[in-house]
């Protein structure tokens, strides 16, 4: 089966022997909504840069819809649309010209480009701003302009590198709706984001990159099923003087009227409320402490860190032993 994206043993070493990617493997299926997560400097942007021909790879293979990046670069480029992290359009150009020019680079003639630009600008609520210079747009509008620009040539694979960074919640939600609609229409989407709630809500599959290596690549469902404990924040009606001990629930007190409760995944919420009722604790409202994915993400990164430290310690020990022996 042809994948939307297939990366094999991809390596990138920058000048000064900085290994940004240490041989990553990744497969994204057609029609998928895929999350690519990782801390800052993990290698996500380098990987995206290579896929989009902005960064030269050191070795390895990249295939997009079966086309090889090395030998069929133009075909690969025709299939990809990129929404980069930083605003990178010519801010002195009018909005509509940015889209028409981008279409031109893909060989789309001006009349067709105008039609597509109108369609996208209307859809992303930028039509009224079409003759305005891009530097006059607000942050949210600039983000939407970059999405429109990435879609002007109707790519089959859309890569979004933190598309909602710095965007207010209302626009973020409308962008989510738009992207979901796009995905349902058949566009494969790869999303990198720091809003893990965004990845959790939108994506079907996920890969986590850490220090240039893929440490996890699985379905979102599978990853979330590994979460054993969920933490809830409870706002209490009356102040609590002392913290009761409850079997099966770990409680922590934030302040006299706020509790944090760690609930084992095998227990139901009814169990928690029954226990609270036993101690006559009345709850006004309740929310998840963090996104579930955020907890897993931190756990995975910490596990990696501990493993690396342990490897480093062993290595150091061996080196010390060698020194002693020699």
């Amino acid at each position: 089966m042809t994948h939307a994206l297939k990366i094999t043993n991809l390596k990138k070493t920058y000048a000064g022997s900085i290994h940004a990617l240490k041989g990553i493997n990744l497969e994204v299926e057609k029609g998928d909504f895929f999350a690519l997560l990782g801390a800052n400097g993990a290698g996500k942007s380098t990987a995206i840069g290579i896929i989009c021909s902005l960064v030269n790879k050191t070795s390895g293979n990249v295939e997009v819809f079966g086309y090889d990046l090395e030998t069929q670069r133009e075909k690969v480029q025709e299939h990809i649309g990129l929404v980069p992290q930083e605003f990178n359009f010519n801010v002195w150009e009018p909005v509509i010209e940015i889209l028409i020019n981008q279409a031109g680079y893909y060989g789309i003639d001006r009349p067709t480009a105008k039609e597509r630009a109108e369609e996208l600008l209307r859809h992303l609520e930028l039509w009224d701003k079409r003759h305005q210079q891009a530097n006059k747009l607000s942050g949210g509008m600039k983000r939407r302009l970059m999405i429109a620009r990435a879609l002007i040539h109707k790519p089959k694979l859309l890569i979004l590198d933190e598309p909602t960074a710095g965007v207010d919640i209302e626009i973020r939600r409308s962008m989510w709706a738009f992207l979901k609609q796009l995905n349902q229409a058949g566009t494969t989407i790869i999303l990198t984001t720091h809003y893990l709630e965004e990845a959790e809500n939108m994506c079907n599959n996920i890969a986590i990159i850490n220090q240039g290596e893929v440490v996890e690549s699985t379905s979102m469902k599978d990853l979330l099923s590994r979460l054993n404990v969920e933490t809830f924040v409870l706002d209490l009606k009356e102040p609590l003087e002392s913290l009761p001990e409850m079997e099966g629930v770990t409680l922590r007190q934030r302040d006299t009227k706020t509790l944090e409760a760690d609930l084992d995944k095998s227990r139901s919420l009814n169990f928690l409320f029954e226990k609270l009722s036993e101690y006559d604790i009345r709850v006004l409202s309740m929310r998840n402490k963090t996104s579930r994915l955020e907890e897993l993400f931190m756990t995975l990164l910490n596990t990696e860190k501990v493993q690396n430290q342990s490897t480093d310690n062993k290595k150091n020990k061996t080196e010390t032993d060698t020194e002693v022996l020699s």
Partner: protein, 257 residues
């Protein structure tokens, strides 16, 4: 292989570049027209009458081809160096790098933009010169050939400068410390036959001399250099710089990490 899509991309880059310099016409088209008008007034009318004839022509007639060529050279160069450096600096070069635009098309697009501005300014300066002197072109094809090739050559040179430039200083160092001296010492204002043998020989190492004299031959029919040598050297320089610029883009120097 260049196909229809590539031609559309090429047209897009040129249109974008032309619209860019037309949008800022106060910075790009007016200053050279004013500077050259001053040259015509001071060197042509005021000092020129005292100088008398040069190469069998009135001094103002003699310097007009050189001044037109000087405008073409500086404007072709500065258009590409500024446009490509800005595209690099502000990241919109990525719009082309992620698209299926071949490296030759990117390069030719910017060169086309540089030539469009160089030739537009050259035409403006030519029109201004008509207020000061008549212009009878002796060899139209040589004139057009030389001006086109020179404009192309300096557009490529501007592109190479922009590829290596890392900050705004880097795009002004070459025009200030290399291009301007070469242009002023390239026979714009004088015939090298007026110089001593040593300086004549040294002047022959200045590539601008061949372009100015080639153009002057096209317009007036006089030159310090055999026009075919001028033409051949310009073609040689253009081909060499084009290959260098293409190699730089292909390797991604300054644009791909």
């Amino acid at each position: 292989m260049i196909n229809k899509k590539h031609l559309t991309a090429f047209r897009t880059i040129i249109t974008k570049e032309v619209l860019r310099f037309l949008r800022i016409w106060v910075q790009t088209l007016i200053p050279p027209a004013i500077t050259m008008t001053l040259y015509f007034v001071i060197f042509g009318n005021l000092i020129g009458d005292a100088i008398g004839e040069m190469g069998g022509f009135k001094y103002i007639e003699y310097i007009i081809p050189g001044l037109i060529m000087m405008s073409v050279i500086t404007n072709s160069y500065s258009n590409v160096v500024a446009a490509f450096f800005n595209a690099k600096m502000y990241g919109h070069i990525q719009e082309m790098l992620i698209s299926p635009v071949p490296n030759h098309v990117i390069l030719l697009g910017y060169i086309g933009g540089g030539m469009a501005r160089g030739l537009t300014v050259g035409l403006i300066v030519t029109l201004v010169s008509l207020f000061f002197s008549d212009l009878n072109i002796k060899h139209p094809f040589i004139t057009i050939g030389i001006v086109l090739m020179t404009s192309m050559l300096f557009s490529i040179a501007g592109f190479i400068n922009a590829v290596y430039a890392r900050n705004f200083d880097d795009i002004s160092i070459i025009p200030t410390f290399v291009l301007t001296p070469l242009t002023y010492l390239g026979g714009v204002f004088y015939s090298i036959s007026l110089l001593s043998e040593f300086w004549q020989t040294l002047s022959l190492a200045n590539p601008v001399l061949y372009m100015v004299n080639g153009f002057r031959y096209g317009i007036l029919g006089v030159s310090d250099i055999n026009p075919w040598i001028s033409f051949s050297l310009i073609i040689l320089f253009t081909a060499a710089l084009y290959l260098l610029a293409y190699r730089l883009v292909k390797k991604g120097v300054g644009i791909r990490s």
